[in-house]
């Protein structure tokens, strides 16, 4: 009797049934054979080949692996403020300033979305001394991969200053600074911004004159999600001071700290703190805090450090410990030894500029223009908790011998950003960076001479 077996359905392996009870399409073994639904469903096909994903072997047998649906940053977009002639804008780099920056801002910026100009505040906030233009504020912070910055899209004395946010795609106004009752006009601009406690804290310049000791300032807390904005404590100046107002801000010990400014470099400054949400007003800190004005404050190893400004004496870094005692941690020396250029003398407003924590050490910039106004010196100091060393010190009057007044750590690198121009005929458009705190790369001409202290980074 004739018969025929037609197998057009391969059933896979069955090793449980005996040979008689198996179906015609059953297999006893299917080594490297499979049913492939990717265009070959129903047939029996040799399995796909296997090729190396990594061309270089891992450090040993791969005992386990897991994949993450999270984006490991592959693009890092650096944006720095710029100002050319009457045109404000941004310099943008996506290769860490290896190649030339692009101008005009990255995609997503509106034409009006530019960082506020230092001229908006320094004309009255600082004195006419070029040196003081270094104190143009730090009106930008990076928080949760967004750049929050003081915008320039307001009319001085007419409309309210803006706080804008750029998330790498779009740029919009997060909040505005309310009218200032002290001066009867709109606030003039933002001085400093920090992030802490899940918030943004910023100080404003509301009006008044540095020279006349009539500057008015407020400090605000901004919710970075909602833009909700609330004044923190009273408007400055506050008792016992009558003229000085906050410049630098810091978060430490669960408190927001500020130190006052104006009235001249030798004027007595004071430190205040407040516990946002707990205290109604600012508390004057230890009355023996010293008199020096500072340009920045920062927390390091549980203590609060002050980058101070001096006149013709050596500038210092002060520190407040956890029990309220102030002391001097570092005094700048004309000759720091080693290969550090020796300074001729301390000029007015020689100062420690900005503080940053990097790789478990405290870094602080320093700038001095000698009394004769002929030599500029810049340094970056490192403090590891035990000793201070100079880790960056260009030659006098070098292109990088500029005041650095903004610092940022990102992706295991530290960046120091120069302050706006303070010297007629001398450009100060520099960013220097380092991945080890020893070798520094300078990126000249990234900034424009009157750019404000802004550098932000968003990743995607």
């Amino acid at each position: 009797m004739p018969g025929k077996i037609n197998i057009y359905s391969w059933n896979g392996v069955n090793v449980d049934k005996n040979d008689i009870q198996l179906e015609d399409g059953d297999l006893r073994k299917a080594q490297n054979a499979t049913r492939d639904p990717l265009g070959a469903q129903g047939s029996m096909r040799k399995r796909a080949g296997l090729t190396k994903h990594n061309s270089i072997a891992a450090a040993g047998a791969i005992r386990g692996a897991v994949s993450l649906p999270l984006t490991k940053p592959s693009t890092r977009k650096f944006v720095a403020g710029r100002y050319t002639g009457s045109t404000a804008g941004w310099n943008t780099s996506t290769d860490d300033f290896v190649t030339s920056v692009t101008t005009g801002g990255p995609d997503g910026y509106s034409a009006s979305a530019t960082p506020r100009l230092p001229a908006n505040i320094w004309t009255n906030f600082a004195s006419a001394d070029d040196r003081q233009r270094a104190f143009s504020g730090r009106p930008l912070v990076t928080y949760k991969n967004r750049i929050y910055y003081a915008g320039n899209d307001y009319t001085l004395n007419t409309t309210a200053p803006t706080i804008r946010v750029y998330d790498g795609t779009i740029d919009y106004v997060l909040t505005t600074i309310p009218y200032s009752p002290d001066v009867g006009v709109q606030s003039l601009g933002i001085l400093n911004m920090i992030t802490a406690n899940g918030k943004i804290y910023l100080s404003t310049y509301d009006g008044g004159s540095y020279a006349a000791n009539t500057v008015k300032t407020r400090i605000f807390e901004v919710d970075p999600d909602s833009g909700a904005t609330a004044q923190i404590g009273s408007r400055f100046p506050i008792t016992p001071e009558t003229a000085r107002v906050p410049y630098a801000l810091a978060w430490w010990y669960g408190r927001l700290w500020c130190r006052t400014y104006t009235g001249g470099v030798t004027a007595t400054s004071k430190t205040y703190f407040i516990r946002p949400g707990i205290d109604d007003d600012w508390t004057l800190d230890n009355t023996s805090a010293g008199t020096l004005t500072c340009s920045d404050m920062f927390t390091f190893q549980g203590q609060l450090y002050f980058a101070c400004i001096a006149d013709t004496a050596a500038a210092v870094v002060r520190v407040r410990n956890t029990t309220g005692t102030y002391s001097t941690s570092k005094t700048a020396a004309l000759d720091e030894g080693g290969g550090t250029p020796v300074m001729s003398d301390f000029g007015a407003y020689n100062h420690f500029g900005t503080l940053i924590l990097f790789s478990s050490s405290l870094y602080v910039s320093y700038f001095n223009k000698n009394a004769a106004d002929t030599n500029r010196y810049a340094r970056i100091y490192k403090y590891d908790g035990t000793s201070w060393t100079v880790v960056y010190s260009p030659a006098a009057n070098a292109t990088t011998a500029v005041p650095f007044h903004f610092a940022l750590v990102h992706n295991s690198k530290v960046y120091f950003v120069s302050a706006p121009s303070s010297d007629t005929g001398v450009t100060h458009n520099v960013i220097v960076s380092s991945s080890d705190g020893s070798a520094w790369t300078d990126v000249t001409t990234v900034l424009d001479d009157t750019s404000t202290n802004t550098l932000g980074i968003v990743t995607s």
Binding site: G3, K4, I5, N6, Y8, G12, V13, N14, V15, D16, D19, L22, L27, R28, K29, N32, A33, T34, R35, D36, P37, A40, S43, M44, R45, K46, G49, L50, K52, H53, N54, S55, A57, A58, A59, G60, I62, R63, G64, A65, V66, S67, L68, L70, T71, K72, Y143, T195, A196, Y253, G254, T299, F300, Q301, G302, Q303, N321, T322, G385, N411
Partner: protein, 523 residues
Amino acid sequence: MPFSLVQGGSSLQTLDTSGTLTTLTLPTGVTIDTSTRPRFAIYGRYVVVVNSPTRPITVDPEGVVRVLTPRPPRTKPVASAVAGGSLTGTYEGIKQSFFVNDSDGNTISESGMGPPTLSISPSSQAIQLAGIDVSTDTISGSRFYRPATNGTTLFKWFDIEGNTQTTVMDDLADASLELVAAPELGNPPDLVLVAEFRERLWGRSRIDPDYLRYSEAGKMYAWPTLNKLLIPRIGSSERGITGIISRRDSLIVGRETVLYQIAGSGRLTFATVKIKENVGIESSDSIVVYRDVAYWLARDGVYSMDEGGKITCISDNKVRNWFNSDTYFNRSRFQYAVGGVDPLRNKYILLLANVGDSDENRWVEYNITDGTWWGPHKTDAFTPVYVTNILDSNSLSIPVICSTTGFVYKEQSTRTDDTATAIDFDVDGKFHDGGTPDIEKVWGQPTLISKIQAAGTLTITPKVGGLDASAGTAISATMTLGREVLRRIGVGRFMQMNFRHTTAAQDVELFGLEQPFFELGSR
């Protein structure tokens, strides 16, 4: 771009979509046992790694590796009343913890609390703490908790950044303490298993295998000692808990021979409910949850738990013999089996040790769509040790097999392993009997229908006779034809064919086979 985290030797490395490896820096004092398999859980933006590291660690998308929880303070701070404050009353049991913040200032880890201070009674003074401990781990700072005046419940008091200060003071009034009592904290044990379920991490300690430990909700780092559940029967096996299955709406915990479900929503209500006796989890690494269906290897086969909670042995009636005899695999290594899923082909993949071998060097696959089993597969290009998925540049999940030599192998359309190793396609069909096993037959010329390939020859080796028939003369089938009538097979009651192809870079795709026969009769 997405990336993967691999344990290569004693290193943790990230692997990007182009195959570039970057070695991560481990926390000080943490090492990885090269012979131990890591276990992972994804919690928020962090990967938690346990078992192979000497302490549980986390890895963030930037590749920063941290301990899951810093060790708690070891010493008792010395509390004293000092001038300069406004506190009056008795304060007892002030405690310190260590915390870690991310770059945005969010607390991402906090240790358990250290020993409490002795009672202190300031009178319009501040409280000073001296001799506070510093951490041996990398931390952001210390956090202090104190009770309200004359109270016992701790509230967050203040933070001090850094890891060097040994003296602090503060006079924060009671009314300014945080309104919510101090969180429950605690350090995780030396975890060998870990899973994430409902914003908690769940795990099993290396030295306490009968208890299921779990973290506080929303805090992967907080493991209070009270957060543990006994999984019965205590002491009944050396291995204790052998697997944790985290499904959409249920957490399953298994021993070798029993399964429990965790019921409840918090410490006061958590309870174990036995859901299956005589079915357990043999290998925790074999567990895969795909489309809310769990697959795992038990002692006697592969099981699934479907969306409704029904537990089924999916290997029974087909390949039970794989798992219940010593013919196919080294059953003593079943506890090391590794499971994975091929989302492209909808398959569950199980890596097993060949009989007599001590590496998981074979793999079988279960077609989830049609319930068929395929394999055991092997490769001569490398020795597999792990199977998992990685994300490609389109963020699509693809299956990969990891090797002892440190390479991750992904599929390629070319039927070659590595660069030049042929894939040994070796298939045995059944002993066909035409429905009449007692009747001698003439097995005529079969027709092979296949996909037309560019090149290649398939070797078909028939066996004709009884069930103990020997292999006959091989037949060559040309893969370039699409249809080929082969030579006559022979005479016998049964006929079986072996299909084999061992040439590199050549594909085989068989649509079907038609085998005519003519019954001769029976003796």
